[in-house]
């Protein structure tokens, strides 16, 4: 099982949970399982073509998966996945 760290902007789509535990042998499996558990995350993590959005970075432990095997990066028990979206600042309610 892998722990996925959910950043605060996305916690509204995970029932306010800051970490979600998912099964999966690869990062891709784990993210699919995550979106399976929390379908509202889908459009925030993936574009219409099913590709991860460019402003959503995914780390396995402290390494950017773009520099590993991307979604095919294998996971071992105890790994942590972090979703790190870009944030601009903090204020303002429209």
């Amino acid at each position: 099982m892998t722990e996925v760290q959910i950043p605060s902007p996305l916690r509204q789509y995970t029932g306010k949970q800051s970490t979600v535990t998912v099964p999966g042998k690869t990062v891709g499996d784990a993210l699919t399982a995550l979106v399976g558990q929390h379908p509202d995350l889908q459009r925030h993590l993936y574009n219409d073509d099913g590709k991860l959005r460019a402003f959503v970075n995914v780390y396995v432990n402290d390494e950017d998966m773009r520099y590993l095997d991307k979604e095919a990066t294998p996971l071992t028990d105890g790994d942590t996945i972090s979703i790190v979206p870009s944030i601009a600042g903090g204020k303002g309610i429209v």
Partner: protein, 405 residues
């Protein structure tokens, strides 16, 4: 950063006394303090992050501090922007900042720039400084600061905050990654965390801004391990600090091997907010040197109603269903006795609405309610309007007793 070349300026006896706690540390010492005195740091924004940055850099003896801001202090700033006091409400942030900084350290050479940072002025501005500290609050300016730093060869001391989380790093050092290596593209405006998710814990800019000040001083001194190549994540709620590895992307459009961005571009267009109300300061906004973040959310063009018209309808006892699409914690601050369905919940709670009735949707300022009305129209509703200016306009024009937030 470009190494400060001798001769470094001398310190007066008054300065030696003032900085004695630096001077007796070997990591700073006389040479380090003289480097600080020679250093020129440009701080973008005199708001949440800019406050601790400017205060500590000034106290530490940075010789020349540039501040870019065009905003005026308002009440909603005071919860976190510790450069400014209650008595400063209504003053220019630069005037308020100058007074505080000069009071802390009269040796400071303060250069203020009352302007929005733009593609037209950024390069000239940056060339006069050694380090740029980014205290902005929106994506267009983030990318502008980054690109201008890469193009002028100035390190970009980065900090960003959202609610109770922060990020910090040092970008655009000689061999290090830049912000675009980390995030090649900004999120499309519609996917910026919803407006209701805004807000920030007041101490968080303090935490992150002080990290930025620390990194700035380390760059100047040439001491320690810089955050270049690392992204520090701060979670104030869990009180956890984590770090992630950052790599320079060889294909980065601005700092890569074959850059496609060789001059500054139109950053509002790049961030997809051209044509929105990007330049209209939102009422009561706590913005810094740049575009109000609220404007980053595009507002669909939908049927609207003014607060005066709504008041008339209500006074005439017309059958109007008021739909409040804010969050429950906002409803607790003030409300129009409307039916509360937060914007994000609207799709699955549509059955609570009667399509035969006239519906007026409102939020705080009109952004979320416009989205709600667009959604309702798309869902087949016919008689729906968005309340222009939201409860903020209601408080301004109809009910002065209603609290504003």
């Amino acid at each position: 950063m470009p190494t400060l070349t001798p001769p470094l300026p001398a310190l007066s006896n008054d300065e030696i006394l003032r900085y004695s706690r630096h001077l007796i540390m070997p990591e700073v010492g006389m040479d380090g303090q003289r480097k600080l005195k020679a250093a020129r740091v440009l701080c973008i924004g005199a708001g949440g992050l800019g406050s601790p940055l400017a205060l500590y850099l000034t106290a530490a003896g940075v010789g020349t501090l540039g501040l870019v801001d065009f905003d005026v202090v308002d009440y909603t700033n005071l919860q976190r922007q510790i450069l400014h006091t209650t008595a400063d409400v209504g003053r220019k942030k630069l005037d308020s900042a100058a007074e505080k900084l000069k009071a802390i350290n009269p040796f400071l050479n303060l250069r203020t720039f009352e302007t929005r940072l733009t593609s037209a002025n950024a390069l000239d501005l940056f060339r006069d400084f050694d380090v740029v500290a980014d205290g902005t609050d929106n994506f267009p300016t983030r990318y502008l600061v980054n690109d201008a730093c890469v193009l002028t060869g100035k390190p970009n001391v980065y900090g960003s905050i959202f609610r109770f989380e922060g990020q910090a790093s040092v970008f655009a050092t000689e061999d290090g990654p830049c912000y675009r290596c980390l995030y090649p593209e900004p999120p499309p405006p519609g996917l910026v965390p919803s407006c209701a998710e805004g807000g920030v814990l007041g101490i968080l800019p303090g935490l992150v801004g002080v990290i930025q000040a620390t990194e700035t001083i380390k760059l100047i001194l040439g001491q320690g391990d810089s955050l270049a190549g690392r992204l520090l994540l701060v979670d104030a709620l869990g009180m956890k600090f984590r770090e992630l590895k950052l790599r320079k992307n060889p294909d980065c459009p601005v700092c890569g091997k074959n850059p496609t961005i060789t001059q500054l571009i139109d950053y509002e267009e790049f961030c997809g907010i051209r044509g929105q109300e990007a330049t209209a300061p939102a009422a009561g906004s706590a913005s810094s040197a740049t575009t109000p973040a609220g404007a980053a959310s595009p507002q669909p063009d939908v049927p609207s109603i003014s607060v005066d018209e709504l008041k008339k309808k209500l006074d005439a006892n017309e059958d109007v269903f008021i739909l409040d699409v804010r969050e429950p914690h906002e409803y607790q601050i003030c409300n129009l006795n409307g039916h509360l369905i937060p914007l994000n919940d609207l799709p699955r709670r549509l059955s609570e609405l009667d399509p035969t009735r006239e519906i007026v949707a409102h939020c705080k300022m009109g952004g979320r309610s416009a989205k709600a009305v667009k959604f309702l129209l798309d869902s087949g509703f016919k008689n729906v309007h968005s309340l222009t200016g939201g409860v903020a306009a209601w408080a301004d024009k109809i009910d002065p007793k209603m609290p504003k937030y």
